[in-house]
């Protein structure tokens, strides 16, 4: 039916319903008969309206749409701002400016720039391109090019009612996303992609294509490192190789190299000396800097897992405290490394993977960065390793571990959830808006972190200065920290103002902590975050704080300078708190965790107790071999076992108030974790270190948690292919025959600890492959759990390194890809200048915008016409009818067609048209109606005279006819008079027609014509006169006088 759209401004969604229009002739036929009783004009009008109604109903059912054709064009420019074309931004801007200079006034131009992400810089707008050259915001993440995302964004940004065109300016070195799919989508939507190719050729470029090291090796083995370098012209330089951060000394014939144009490969062999994961970094330094244009691509990395005996890492909060345990483990032949958190440095997942189990012995959460905590959790649950946490005053909840990622993997929660009454802590945060960039953001982030760290039993409140109207307020009311997410949401909504004075907020905090709800708290602490330029509190208030044992720590947010420190130092010093000058935002989480922890001291039980074995058959107690009577312990940290069937609690501290876990363990996802809430051997566990079973006890626990080693008969290798990483596993059994139909469950962890979805497929006999996206440079670790029909075969560790983005290795544009896009979308290759390109040429098919119009038809045509139809048939008065028609026409024109919202002459025209129609209907009846309206006696009298005169004429005619009839068929008439009844029925049926003959009586006819219903009633009530009894003279008198009588009666009635 779209041919309609090309001829008329509407179309139909389901034209089949238009067959309903065939009902029109039937309707006409039926209506002519059923409306036979009304006057011809009304009948015609009514039938016409009804036919129109049927047609409109058919239109509505067919889903009538209005079609607007538009000749305008929208062009969206996509500007490549990735690293490979960073020096060509000016050229691209110039192209846009030049090509939009003479664009047609109704066309629109918009601009999207892209690298890794795409950003809309100018909405499609009429009038040109409005961004001044060089004023584009800085593009983040230029290390990748994702043209597909830019095309997708452009498709979403096009207005729907114009022709569309994309002008892509790029070198075509696309290294993310799927451009061709996006191009096909554009084609399907009728959007051509014109390409402006950005041409360049890097003649001076060297890049380190790959460093290849074996994934696994054994101690003592010589590991071959293969280095692949690529250059555009002969270059000489030096290769430096670092192992685990240390520079390897290589003979000069190996480190000094001369590269020929193209690919160059070098080998070196490096012995493996330790049992930890070896990570290698190789750097090429050209002798002359001018030989190389991009320095970012001269480095490559790789790593090798060293298989050997499983090692355990003990991270200790206090080295002497943990020495007894380490000695005990070594005596049981467990390989142990002992370090402090400070010695760890940049300790991330690949480093952790050198160990099968990590023990956190009395280490606070603040010793680790958030990324390290997250990596520890992944180390357990995804990499299948073991983790043991032991207590001390810095362990578990007391160490600020509440709400961390690590709590999730432990068998106990660090909160006290059961009924016990324990002393509570109370924390108040006072937040001051900071002048540094994003100061308030960091303030809020840290406040939220405190909310996580503080247990739900403790009190927390946040005070700040808010504007409008200005004043200090409890933005988070001081209350128990029960609903952490609600409190965090409140913090997010908080508007921090420029607080004039510390005194008032500190006074408010004091009121709650000393005399309010926080009165009973065992630990009361205030943290002030500020840049120090609020007015200091009075010495009296500080003295009150000290007296009430409320400590205040102050954190200066200023990244170095920009903090007025004296006030903050004074407050911290006077109240026994600490002052921190945060030098960068990264320090803040640790400061906050440490500070919030202050209120968690009540979680520590510092009194001796006798541990009780309640589950002697636990794996950790060697099936009961170690249980039995144990020496007493000097203290512990309170925790609650998790509500999971996997959690086993073999040893507890039994009190009247319930049992607190001392030892708990479980398997969590792939890994195993153990919580020993006591420990702290020099203080709480002196008697344990002398216990004969101490060594056996710990060796048993450590061995239970250790990661299972790789099955020797499985071989893995990895590869980078453009944007993808590939892992291949060859599975052989003992007899070197292929293992088929194995299930491989893989976890791939990216450089930012993100889990990358991966699936293994069997691609050949005993061969399994998985492909995953590598979108960032860095190390990717994979843990693959192999199983054969539910039987666990072990876990494989592997990984690969993406040294740098492919963006940095592009030497020439990828013209082939761009040509392909042009071919797919029927676009143009615009390698000529901007003026010749004719970007705004109107050679695209016109666009149609279709809008459903059936609601409009229903509301503005169907309903008014329906009312009109009723009016035509029911409104006896022509005046009323004409007014009804007039109102409907006016209403539809003013509001339905929207004339009301237009110019005044439109409104005037609508009124004139409606009046014209109205008066046309009224025209024939204007005289009598005028009389009727004035209804003066004279007018009535004249009307009477006129009637009388016309009556005379009528009478004569009838007399003549009657006489003729009487003469011609008297007998026939007599027969009719005998058969009186059917005739009277016929008369009644045709009450509006002038009755011929003598049947109803002549006087009845006249009164019916002039007196309306009343007369008709009378005529019906009158005894019927028989034919032949006609008395013309009497009737003539009668008619006039009866008419007058009737009128008088009517008036009388009205007056009464």
């Amino acid at each position: 039916m779209s041919w309609i759209a090309w001829t008329m401004p509407f179309d139909f969604e389901e034209p089949i319903w238009l067959w309903l229009c065939l009902l029109v002739p039937i309707l006409i036929a039926v209506s002519i008969r059923s409306l036979a009783g009304i006057e011809p004009i009304r009948r015609v009008l009514s039938i016409a309206v009804r036919c129109l109604l049927v047609v409109l109903v058919a239109f509505c059912l067919a889903g009538v749409q209005s079609v607007q054709r538009n000749e305008d064009l929208t062009v969206l420019y996509l500007m490549d701002r990735s690293h490979s074309v960073q020096e060509m931004q000016e050229k691209q801007e110039q192209f846009i400016i030049e090509s939009t200079k003479e664009m047609p006034p109704d066309d629109r131009a918009g601009m999207i720039d892209f690298a890794r992400n795409a950003y809309l810089q100018q909405l499609p707008m009429r009038g040109g391109y409005f961004i001044a050259p060089g004023r584009l915001p800085v593009m983040p993440n230029t290390d990748r090019t994702d043209i597909a995302t830019a095309v997708r964004l452009a498709m979403a940004m096009f207005p729907h009612d114009t022709a569309k065109r994309i002008v892509l300016m790029s070198d075509g070195n696309d290294n993310m996303g799927d451009l061709l799919t996006e191009a096909r989508r554009a084609k399907a939507n009728g959007v051509p992609v014109d390409v402006v190719p950005l041409q360049y050729r890097r003649s001076n470029e060297v890049f380190f294509e790959r460093l290849i090291a074996p994934t696994h090796a054994s101690p003592g083995e010589q590991v071959p490192l293969r280095m692949v370098l690529n250059t555009t012209k002969p270059v000489s330089g030096t290769i430096l190789v670092y192992r685990n951060g240390d520079l390897l000394q290589m003979p000069s014939d190996q480190s000094r190299v001369s590269l020929k144009p193209g690919r160059n490969t070098f080998f070196i062999k490096i012995p493996i000396e330790s049992e930890i994961t070896q990570s290698y970094e190789a750097i090429f330094r050209p002798d002359r800097q001018s030989d190389d244009s991009v320095a970012l691509n001269n480095t490559s990395r790789a790593f090798t897992f060293v298989s050997g005996s499983s090692r355990v890492l003990v991270i200790s909060g206090g080295l002497p405290d943990d020495q007894p345990m380490v000695d005990a483990l070594r005596s049981e032949n467990v390989l142990v490394d002992l370090v402090t958190p400070a010695e760890l440095g940049d300790f991330l997942l690949p480093d952790m993977m050198s160990y099968s189990t990590i023990v956190l012995s009395n280490v606070p959460a603040a010793s680790f960065t958030e990324a390290q905590q997250e990596a520890l959790a992944i180390y357990v649950k995804d990499m299948g390793s073991g983790l043991i946490m032991t207590g001390g005053d810095e362990g578990f909840g007391a160490g600020g571990w509440i709400g961390t990622k690590l709590e999730e993997v432990m068998p106990v929660t660090f909160e006290i959830k059961h009924k016990r009454v324990i002393p509570r802590g109370a924390l108040v945060l006072i937040m001051h808006s900071c002048e540094i960039a994003r100061g308030n953001f960091w303030g809020k982030e840290m406040a939220k972190k405190s909310v996580d760290t503080v247990s739900s039993q403790d009190y927390i409140g946040v005070l700040t200065y808010t504007y409008s109207p200005g004043g200090e307020n409890w933005e988070v009311p001081f209350d128990r920290n029960r609903n952490k997410s609600a409190v965090k949401a409140q913090i997010d909504r908080m508007q921090m103002g420029d607080m004039p004075d510390f005194g008032r907020t500190m006074q408010m905090a004091y009121k709650e902590l000393a005399n309010g709800r926080g009165r009973d708290a065992a630990q009361k602490h205030v943290i002030i975050m500020s840049d120090g330029d609020a007015s200091p509190p009075s010495p009296k208030l500080l003295a009150d704080y000290k007296k009430a044992k409320i400590t205040v720590s102050t954190i200066a947010l200023g990244w170095g300078g920009h903090v007025f420190q004296p006030t903050m130092i004074k407050i911290a010093k006077a109240t026994g708190g600490r002052f921190y000058a945060a030098r960068n935002p990264k320090q803040l989480p640790q400061i906050f965790t440490k500070e919030s922890k202050v209120v968690r001291r009540p979680l520590i039980i510092d009194e001796p107790f006798q541990p009780v074995t309640i589950n002697p058959n636990s794996d950790l107690l060697a099936g009961g071999a170690i249980s039995g009577s144990m020496p007493p312990l000097g203290g512990m940290v309170l925790t609650s076992p998790k509500q999971s069937p996997n959690v086993v609690v073999p040893i507890v501290r039994a009190t009247d108030d319930g049992e607190d876990p001392v030892l708990a363990h479980w398997q969590y996802e792939l890994g195993k974790t153990v919580a020993f809430t006591s420990g702290y051997w020099a203080h709480w566990g002196q008697q344990w270190t002398g216990w004969p079973k101490f060594a056996k006890f710990w060796a048993q626990i450590v061995r239970w948690t250790m990661r299972q080693d790789t099955p020797a008969n499985f071989d893995t290798y990895t590869k980078i292919e453009g944007n993808r990483g590939r892992i291949v596993i060859d599975a052989l059994d003992k007899d070197a025959s292929y293992l088929n139909n194995l299930a491989a469950q893989a976890r791939v962890i990216g450089p930012n600890n993100e889990v990358i979805p991966t699936r293994f497929m069997q691609t050949g006999p005993g061969k399994y492959e998985a492909v995953f996206e590598v979108t960032k440079a860095g190390q990717y670790l994979a843990n693959v759990r192999m199983s054969d029909q539910g039987r666990d075969l072990g876990t494989l560790r592997t990984g690969l390194t993406v040294p740098f983005s492919p963006e940095y290795r592009d030497l020439i544009p990828n013209e082939a890809l761009l040509r392909q896009v042009v071919d797919i979308t029927d676009g143009r290759w615009l390698d000529q200048g901007p003026m010749q390109a004719d970007v705004f040429s109107h050679d695209l098919p016109l666009t149609e915008a279709r809008k459903p119009a059936w609601e409009w038809v229903l509301a503005w045509l169907l309903l008014p016409l329906f009312l009109l139809d009723v009016a035509v048939r029911r409104l006896a008065s022509w005046l009323a009818l004409s007014i009804a028609v007039e109102v409907v026409v006016l209403f539809v024109m003013l509001f339905g067609l929207g004339v009301w919202y237009g110019a005044w002459w439109g409104i005037l025209g609508a009124i004139l048209l409606a009046e014209l129609i109205g008066w046309t209907i009224r025209f024939r009846y204007i005289g009598p109606i005028f009389d009727y309206m004035t209804h003066s006696v004279t007018a009535l009298g004249r009307a009477g005279e006129r009637s009388a005169a016309s009556l005379d004429k009528l009478k004569d005619v009838r007399e003549r006819v009657l006489d003729e009839r009487e003469d011609v068929g008297k007998e026939k008439l007599e027969r009719i008079s005998q058969d009186d009844e059917p005739v009277s029925i016929k008369t009644a049926k045709r009450k509006y027609e002038a009755t011929g003959g003598r049947v109803a009586g002549r006087s009845g006819d006249l009164s019916a014509t002039l007196g309306g219903a009343q007369s008709e009633e009378k005529s019906q009530g009158k005894p019927k006169s028989k034919p032949g009894e006609t008395k013309p003279e009497e009737e003539q008198e009668d008619a006039t006088s009866r008419l007058l009588r009737a009128k008088r009666r009517a008036r009388k009635d009205i007056e009464e």
Binding site: G470, P500, D501, G503, D533, S535, F564, P566
Partner: protein, 331 residues
């Protein structure tokens, strides 16, 4: 409706006498009295000095970093020639003509540690900026060329903690207010040598707490906006207290963080209330005269005003800090 019925209605309407229906007449009478009464109550009962947009002559500046834009402007001063200077949180001093047309602007020499919160114009046209976070006062000529600085960090003679405002007496001496633990006002000679310090002792039992704005009137007495004590202190140029006015509150004559005071008008003291989002006028005896402004973003409304100054034709330039604009009003 039939003709008869229509007639009936018409008859009824023509013969209807409202007085004959007791309830109806009562309603009419009541409204005749109560409506005007209500209007009178509303018109008279409201605070007659409440701000109206009618008082706003112009609003200039919008959020941004361009010329004539503001990012949290915090101090304003009008020079004798009618040009207006304002300093904002990007450490830019901008100069406007009396109608708010941007003339020129310059950046403070050092900005990393913090931005200035006060400035004043000497009657010879020099601009004195209280460079708060650099513990000094920086002096510029009207074209923005730096002329001199004085002051350094400390609590001793010739030292500042966080200077907030500058004022001048008839002899050309310079007065600087400061806070940060040693809240006081220091007096400097016209060639910027330290002369004396005042306000270091409690005034009416309370030490100055963040004197955020100072001004000297024609009678050569010093007015101090003692912000965190929510009061105005009137003192002689030798530091002798004459009176203190106000306490914390939202009522007339009370203050919430008064951040600036201006006494260039001979009869009145104008106070800008940072926490109260309004300007308040007192007479020289501290009696409340009127207020202007309420919290909001519309013209005639204020959000955290840090300062206000009298300009040509007794117009008031109020720096509407959080709304990043200056309003010129004629209260």
């Amino acid at each position: 409706m039939t003709y008869e019925q229509l007639n009936l209605v018409a008859l009824e309407l023509s013969t209807f006498n409202p007085e004959s229906v007791p309830l109806f007449s009562m309603l009419i009478c009541r409204h005749a009295f109560t409506v005007p009464l209500l209007i009178i109550i509303f018109a008279v009962g409201c605070n007659p000095s409440a701000s109206t947009t009618r008082d706003v002559l112009a609003v200039f500046g919008r959020t941004g970093f361009g010329d004539g834009d503001f990012s949290y402007p915090r101090a304003i001063a009008v020079s004798p020639d009618g040009s207006v200077y304002a300093v904002d949180k990007t450490a830019r001093v901008q100069k406007f003509d009396s109608n708010g047309v941007f003339l020129l602007g310059w950046k403070m020499p050092d900005r990393a540690a913090g931005k200035p919160i006060g400035l004043s114009v000497h009657r010879d046209g020099r601009v004195f900026v209280a460079d708060t976070h650099y513990h000094r006062v920086v002096i510029f000529d009207p074209m923005g060329n730096q002329l001199a600085t004085f002051g350094e960090l400390g609590t001793g003679d010739g030292q500042f903690q966080l200077p907030t405002d500058v004022a001048f007496d008839q002899q050309g001496n310079v007065y600087v207010s400061e806070y940060g633990g040693n809240d006081r006002i220091t007096k400097w000679s016209p060639d910027f040598h330290f002369l004396s310090a005042m306000g270091e002792k409690p005034i009416d039992g309370v030490r100055l707490n963040r004197p955020a704005g100072i001004d000297i009137d024609v009678e050569q007495s010093l007015w101090v906006a003692d912000a965190c004590n929510h009061r105005i202190v009137h003192m002689t140029l030798d530091g002798e207290t004459l009176a203190t006015y106000g306490e914390m509150g939202r009522e007339s004559g009370k203050f919430r963080y008064p951040y600036d005071v201006d006494v260039s008008s001979s009869r009145m003291v104008m106070v800008a209330e940072f926490g109260g989002d309004r300007l308040q006028w007192l007479d020289k005896k501290g009696r409340f005269l009127q207020t202007w402004g309420s919290s909001g973003r519309k013209p005639g409304e204020l959000s955290a005003p840090w300062g206000a100054a009298y300009g040509p034709n007794k117009n008031v330039y109020v720096v509407d800090s959080l709304n990043n604009r200056v309003q010129i009003i004629k209260p």
